[in-house]
């Protein structure tokens, strides 16, 4: 399933983010949520975006959809810059890119029935015929494994978290989008339900020919669904590469730290006594140079002075580090 995701001209990436900067004010200070991030997602692939809280991954997801306007940078979707669009043109484009949220129950209007909620995108898109809408709604509900007859007349609070997430996925699919951004879609769900939803996403992707940007903080989950993975820390990308490769041989110390910290359900694997690396700094005052340097055992003067750029370190793997774990070049 590994696709050739290099920047080859034969397949233009569906999404290309260029030098995106997102900042916003909290109190009197500025939060540097996303600082100069560039990435791309090829058609039909799943790019996993992983990082801990405060790293800006959710903000990035929203900035791509222009739900939070970036300060600078371009978001090229199918060649057109979303960041430069407004009003109606942007609204038209939004039909091709959808979003699934972390809290499935809060993503549904508590006072509207499921049938209406799922039909809403169709109404906004101008599908006038109620029967046609009904048909599409039923089709998409069946696709996600819910019985339309039992579901359409009910209110969101009557369903469990897992079912609500299915409903949200159905809503995202009803307009037949090309690209779906999944912002922590399974974090709020029980373990046994997570697997169901992840399988469902994979299934839907295959069936509808989707491209996904999968944002999560759980590396195992990200690895399970992604072709390529990008690791973010405090607003910057640390490393990007194919899933299998990145987890087998991480080049960035932060990636290695994340992998090591994952609790493994194997009693023979005694968790290594973690090196106290302290807390991540605040995004309101990120460290100069490499932002990870305050917690990195390899940091030196160069890391304080110079911001590392993404450089290739292995086939299709890029790392932004002055002292990567795998030598560059």
């Amino acid at each position: 399933m590994m696709q050739d995701t290099r920047q080859s001209s034969s397949r233009d990436p569906l999404l290309r983010v260029e030098h995106l900067v997102v900042e916003y004010a909290v109190g009197g200070k500025t939060v540097h949520a996303v600082s100069d991030v560039s990435l791309q997602v090829a058609r039909g692939e799943t790019l996993g975006l992983v990082g801990e809280s405060g790293c800006g991954k959710s903000t990035l997801g929203r900035a791509v959809l222009q739900l939070r306007r970036p300060v600078s940078g371009r978001v090229l979707f199918d060649g057109q810059d979303l960041a430069a669009m407004h009003g109606d043109t942007l609204r038209q484009m939004r039909r091709r890119v959808q979003l699934i949220f972390q809290d499935p129950i809060a993503s549904l209007n508590p006072r509207r029935r499921i049938g209406e909620i799922i039909a809403e995108p169709l109404v906004i898109a101008g599908v006038k015929d109620p029967r046609k809408r009904q048909e599409l709604v039923c089709e998409v509900l069946s696709a996600v494994g819910l019985d339309p007859g039992l579901v359409t007349g009910r209110l969101p609070h009557e369903f469990s978290g897992g079912q609500c997430q299915r409903i949200c996925i159905a809503r995202a699919l009803v307009l037949n989008p090309e690209f779906i951004i999944c912002d922590e879609p399974v974090s709020a769900l029980d373990v046994s339900i997570r697997a169901q939803i992840l399988n469902l996403l994979e299934d839907m992707k295959a069936r509808f020919g989707l491209t996904l940007l999968f944002i999560a903080h759980d590396l195992a989950v990200v690895k399970a669904v992604s072709d390529r993975v990008a690791v973010m820390y405090l607003g910057r990308l640390c490393e990007v590469g194919p899933s299998e490769q990145l987890f087998a041989r991480p080049a960035h110390p932060y990636t290695a730290l994340l992998i090591e910290a994952i609790p493994v359900p194997d009693p023979d694997v005694r968790p290594a006594e973690s090196v106290p690396v302290g807390e991540p700094p605040s995004p309101m005052s990120p460290p100069s140079g490499c932002r990870f340097r305050t917690r990195c055992p390899r940091a030196d003067q160069r890391c304080i002075d110079e911001v590392p750029e993404l450089r290739p370190v292995a086939p299709d793997q890029f790392v932004a580090c002055h002292h990567p774990l795998i030598a560059t070049g």
Binding site: L99, F101, I124, D147, R154, G162
Partner: protein, 290 residues
């Protein structure tokens, strides 16, 4: 192959908690009283009542009798008729003034809570200015300039109620506008108008309605106070407040002239309060998840 959930008929939904269990006998008594007062006021013309303005100077302050069920007042007018027609005035002002408040205040509040920024500051600021005026004095000033009439009274009370509704609507909108279903609607490409009307309004409506009923109760009392002072509805139109005011003079001889309208007003205001409170209690737990 996606793993489908098993058929969800049994487990899916427990039917929502029966709300009717919370509505006790007091609630229904309040509804009954309100319906009674409304009906009496609406159909006053059809009831076999003497005219409320017919003065009979020979029959002043007569006690309750078959002819005059509640007796007559200080000017010989039938008390019951005045009470019923007075209900019309009190209820009209009581309902119409808050309607002004809920439409203008509610709209401003929702817009302020949704758009935020300078617009919000402007709205909140102007509401604060309006609130800074002592309400009764403002009412006095307006009636002094524009004259006493039902319309003027309704308008001034309506305008005075706008800030409170604005606050309620804005508070509700602020909490809701940040929730993910609103962002989901934006992500779908919904226009602002659509989001305000289809997503936010259904959720803001119930708290506003609950507050509306409380507003009616308050307005009836305020109108009563103004009329009591002689600054509300002009005579010969009677309202409960003016009847209480007039009854003041007859307290020793016929105390019922003051007490009957007072008790009627009390019961009506209490009923509105009860219903408003119950509605408010009902709307809160709705927001919780499973």
């Amino acid at each position: 192959m996606a793993t489908l959930e098993l058929s969800i008929d049994g487990d899916v939904a427990v039917s929502p908690i029966r709300r009717t269990r919370r509505l006790g006998p007091l609630f229904w008594a309040a509804i009954a009283w309100m319906s009674f007062v409304f009906a009496a006021a609406a159909f006053a013309g059809l009831l076999p009542l003497p005219s409320p303005t017919d003065m009979d100077m020979l029959e002043r302050r007569t006690p309750m009798s078959a002819l005059h069920w509640l007796g007559t007042d200080g000017l010989g007018r039938d008390e019951l008729a005045r009470l019923v027609y007075g209900a019309r005035v009190s209820l009209t002002v009581g309902l119409c003034a808050p309607i002004i408040g809920i439409t203008i205040g509610g709209a401003l509040g929702m817009l302020a809570g949704y758009f935020r920024g300078r617009f919000e500051t402007l709205v909140v600021g102007s509401m604060d200015v309006l609130l800074a005026f002592p309400p009764l004095i403002l009412a006095l000033a307006v009636t002094a300039y524009l004259g006493q009439s039902l319309l003027n009274l309704t308008c001034i009370l309506g305008v005075l109620g706008i800030p409170a509704f604005m606050r309620v609507a804005r508070a509700a909108t602020l909490t809701l506008a940040r929730r993910e279903f609103v962002i989901a609607a934006q992500a779908l490409g919904a226009t602002h108008a659509r989001i305000l009307l289809r997503e936010l309004l259904p959720n803001v409506f119930l708290p506003l309605l609950a507050f509306f009923l409380l507003g009616v109760a308050i307005t009836i009392v305020v109108e009563g106070a103004l009329s009591f002072l002689g600054l509300g509805v002009p005579p010969p139109i009677s309202s409960w407040g003016s009847m209480i005011g007039e009854g003041r003079e007859s307290l020793e001889i016929a105390p019922r002239l003051a007490f009957i309208p007072a008790i009627t007003m009390f019961l009506t205001v209490l009923s509105f309060n009860l219903v408003g409170d119950t509605l408010r209690a009902l709307t809160d737990p709705r927001q919780g998840a499973l």
